[in-house]
């Protein structure tokens, strides 16, 4: 059988290797090789979609080879309905991103493209890995290219932003590594087997105390990545300093690593801890939604505004996920895809403005619609998608999350609804200030409208926005069984918890009696 998952994972790396042998002066050749690599990767990943059996929650396209047998580490890849969608999002957005960097990056083109391709392999690897060692390897492998993207090709405060990004993520990673090792030894002490097989850790019956602490370690690692308030402060800095391509990948895919981590690790490995933590996680998600939106509102820098909007939007995803209902989790997953498309699109748009005017201050713009009408059309569609207007992709996801949260807790749903309206406020207000009114700034009067290349890389996003807006079935169909599987795991844990509470009082009374006798 053709190892299709390995192919999808390592094609970008092969592309990077080929570029190594191309002269750095040959910039266009490098760009074309990068683009072709991404297109091939995307086409191969479509094969994953078409051959995927949406009737089972089991891992598919599994590849399993012994690797470091002394530790029980394996080369173990596989995807279910959740990771399939994330892999596709990655290969799709990568093509769009490479097209957008054609003229944006002018120095060290060779190194830039190599970094991007290595990053792509790492991201896909994270979504496919089913062995903890392999997973961790890919996870750390993402860090370095992203650090370089910000630190080398970034803006004025790039070193600060890159370092902040690195320190935050690293801190989370270390906690996660610690937790992985604890799980590893715990599993060995229970079964006598050393393994890093992630699926084996599902339902391993950890005691509540250990579960709580391990859950917390994983949670912090992922929460930093998402980022969940109050771990979000690295994000605006990273976004503002990163080049457009870096921002698109960061917002579109890297942030989803966190929410993906919740679905792949936190929920199935620590269901009891997840259930008992859901109330405070929901609250910090809600705080993130409102806080992110309010801070976005007062930004004078367009890119920072979009960055804070991510904090708010991903708050919704986390809220939906920790509602533990079918609608909530599925809606969260759908919204992860939607956010990748809409916010990716927004960063591309900010990039276009920046390439023309070399500023991102909202006050520098105004009345752009009359100078760049085609650009205005694209911008308005992406903006409306970002605020979840019906007919665009954001709507169904928002609808499902709200529904899922309503099923679980009606108060959360009511507050979350307020967050939705705030999202519309800052986006539309920004749009109005940038695009409407008179052209007051002389420099804006001669701006060139959308070029053909720019239109070509926005077009797939626009199509996705409208298609998924009315027909989300291709995504929902694939995720359905996998999400249901997660919900069943959580429901089981909840049922057991209820059972324990029901029988709890008796031994408690007995204990008090014993204590009494001692006195």
């Amino acid at each position: 059988m053709f190892p299709i998952l390995s192919a999808v994972t390592f094609i970008p790396l092969i592309g990077a290797l080929i570029i190594l042998f191309v002269s750095a002066k040959n910039e266009n050749a490098i760009r074309i090789i990068t683009l072709l690599t991404a297109i091939v990767d995307f086409v191969v990943s479509i094969g994953l979609y078409t051959d995927f059996d949406s009737g089972t929650a089991k891992m598919q396209f599994v590849e399993r080879l012994p690797w470091i047998s002394r530790f029980g580490a394996e080369y173990y890849l596989g995807i279910d309905g959740i990771s399939l969608l994330m892999v596709l999002l990655t290969t799709f957005l990568s093509v769009v991103t490479y097209l957008s960097t054609w003229t944006a990056v002018e120095k060290n083109v060779k190194e830039f493209n190599i970094a991007m391709l290595v990053l792509q392999t790492a991201m896909i690897g994270v979504f496919c890995a089913l062995d903890f060692v392999l997973f961790y390897l890919f996870w750390e492998m993402m860090l370095i290219p992203m650090y370089l993207l910000i630190g080398v090709w970034g803006g004025k405060r790039k070193i600060y932003a890159a370092l902040k990004f690195f320190v935050y993520t690293m801190a989370g990673s270390v906690l996660m590594l610690f937790a992985i090792l604890v799980l590893y030894f715990e599993y060995h002490s229970k079964t006598g087997v050393y393994t890093f097989d992630i699926l084996k850790y599902h339902n391993m019956g950890l005691n509540p105390m250990l579960q709580f602490w391990m859950f917390l370690c994983f949670f912090i690692a992922f929460a930093i990545k998402v980022p969940v308030w109050p771990f979000h402060t690295w994000l605006p800095d990273a976004h503002v300093e990163a080049p457009t391509a870096g921002s698109v990948i960061l917002a579109g895919i890297l942030l989803k690593m966190g929410t993906y981590g919740f679905l792949r690790f936190s929920l199935p490995i620590f269901p009891d801890a997840a259930v008992s933590a859901s109330w405070w996680i929901s609250w910090i998600a809600i705080i993130g939604i409102i806080y992110g939106a309010l801070v976005a509102m007062v930004q004078s820098d367009i890119k920072k505004l979009v960055a804070y909007s991510s904090v708010s939007h991903l708050g919704f995803v986390v809220l939906g996920t920790f509602a533990f209902t079918m609608h909530g989790i599925a809606g969260g997953l759908l919204q992860m895809i939607n956010h990748g498309i809409s916010t990716g699109g927004l960063f591309l748009i900010v990039g276009m403005l920046y390439e023309r005017r070399h500023t991102r201050e909202i006050s520098e713009y105004g009345g752009i619609t009359s100078v760049m009408p085609k650009f205005a059309m694209v911008f308005v569609i992406v903006t409306l998608s970002s605020i979840g207007l019906p007919l665009t992709n954001g709507f169904i996801g928002e609808f499902m999350i709200l529904l899922g949260v309503f099923d679980a807790n009606r108060i959360y749903a009511a507050i979350a609804a307020i967050g939705i309206i705030l999202g519309a406020v800052y986006m539309l207000w920004m749009f109005r200030r940038v695009m409407f009114g008179e052209v007051t700034n002389e420099k804006n009067k001669t701006l060139k409208d959308l070029s053909l290349r720019e239109f070509i890389y926005m077009a797939p996003l626009l199509v996705a926005i409208f298609v998924l807006g009315v027909y989300p079935n291709p995504i929902l169909d694939k995720m359905e069984v996998s999400v249901k599987n997660l919900v069943v795991i959580i429901e089981k844990s909840k049922a057991e918890a209820r059972h324990e509470v029901a029988v709890a009082p008796q031994p408690l009374v007995a204990k008090i009696e014993v204590v009494g006798k001692r006195d």
């Binding site: 609808f399 499902m400 709200l402 529904l403 307020i418 519309a424 079935n473 995720m479």
Partner: protein, 490 residues
Amino acid sequence: MTMKTVVSIIPLLAVSVSLLAGLGIFLLRKYPNWREGCSILAALVKFGLVMSLFPLIRDGYIIECPIVTFPAGILPNLGFALRVDTLGFLFAVVASFLWILTTLYSIGYMRSLEEHAQTRYYVCFALALTGALGVAFSANLLTLFLFYELITVSTYLLVVHEETKEAFSAGTKYLTYLMGTGKLFFLPAIVFTYGLAGTLQFKPGGVFLGVDPVWAGLLLVLFVAGVAKTGIMPFHNWLPSAMVAPTPVSALLHAVAVVKAGVFTIVRIVVSIYGVGFLSNIGIGIYMAIAASITVVGASVIALRQDNLKMRLAYSTISQLSYVILGVMLLTPDGVKGSILQIVAHAFGKITLFFCAGAIYVGIHKKYISEMAGIGKVMPWTMGAFTIGALSMIGVPPLAGFSVKWRLLLGAMEAHQILIVAVLLGSTLLNAAYFLPVLKKAYFEEYAGDSHHQHEAPLIMRVALVSTAIITVLVGLFSDSIVSLLGEIS
């Protein structure tokens, strides 16, 4: 009684023809005559498609047209679908027919005033009509919300058409009220309805059977607050501000399509989500009727003091729209029928009045009632139509407005609500108080304008406004036939 249903693609065609027209108008932007031809053609085709459903509706069929069904494992009983029943059909006939006349009128208006950005104008108009028909033909609340928001966005660009500071601040208000309430109240209400009832499908008799009455009542408040297109107080302020838009926009959209989409939504929710029977058991209807009464009276009082003719008409619209809410919340057969008839009757009456206001502006450049002395002689056609529209608003027999008020009064008495009867009678007096002075000024005072500004509006505009005036009379005469189409309301 079992429903006779038939599946057809015509509803989808009828909705989307104006969407395609939008594209056509955009492509023909360099050729104004062809561009306008595209608008007129689309309007005619749209009306034709809607009317082609008439035989089925008359025979009591429901026409269904599923578009997208979501995976049942995740979102059961949900998707985007169209469905035509008598209620939706009536609204669709009104909106699509008036689009033809408004397009004609627009051509006269926009060309006489040499307006800018006419392509954008016609594209947005077509999109708004897609939204209006989509609302009429929606098979469930999700689909309805989609089209409801489409109307908001496309009409926003019409409100800010002039691109002046005033227009932009009106536009901001417009979006804040409509999208704000839509996202803050309407969307959560829809989500919660689905969470409680497990479906958003419109069904005769409603889908709320077995739902906790407290929640159902709470959601009704959310719905009424969320559908701000009804112009119910205190969510009415967007409407007067939106009068900065060109007059054909005020005429078709802010007197018919947009606001009627609002009240239609409320009627739809009451009839097909709650069910009249279920709602009367909860007993919340009368409070909603009283809330609507406050708007009926309040807006009329404000209308009295407006000197700008369009503003007076705007407040009159707010007042008249709440008749629809008031009627349906009475939850009696005559109340509901009167309310639905009002959607039709007010549409023709009010569009006539707005057409006239625009004609007066184009003909003699007057906006204020105090300047309109003696214009009855200068513009006989326009003022003749205006008189019919105004008398219909007041409720003079046999005009359309009368047949509405008659049924609403019956409905109020069936419900034993003397207070509502008093409101209806009182508001009729108020209607007379703000319309009759305009007629008196026009007919019984001397013309004060300069002599070379003494001509009627272009012929194409007069054709439009005289036609709507005639229909206002016809709706009044044949109101029984219209109502009998509705059958029994349960």
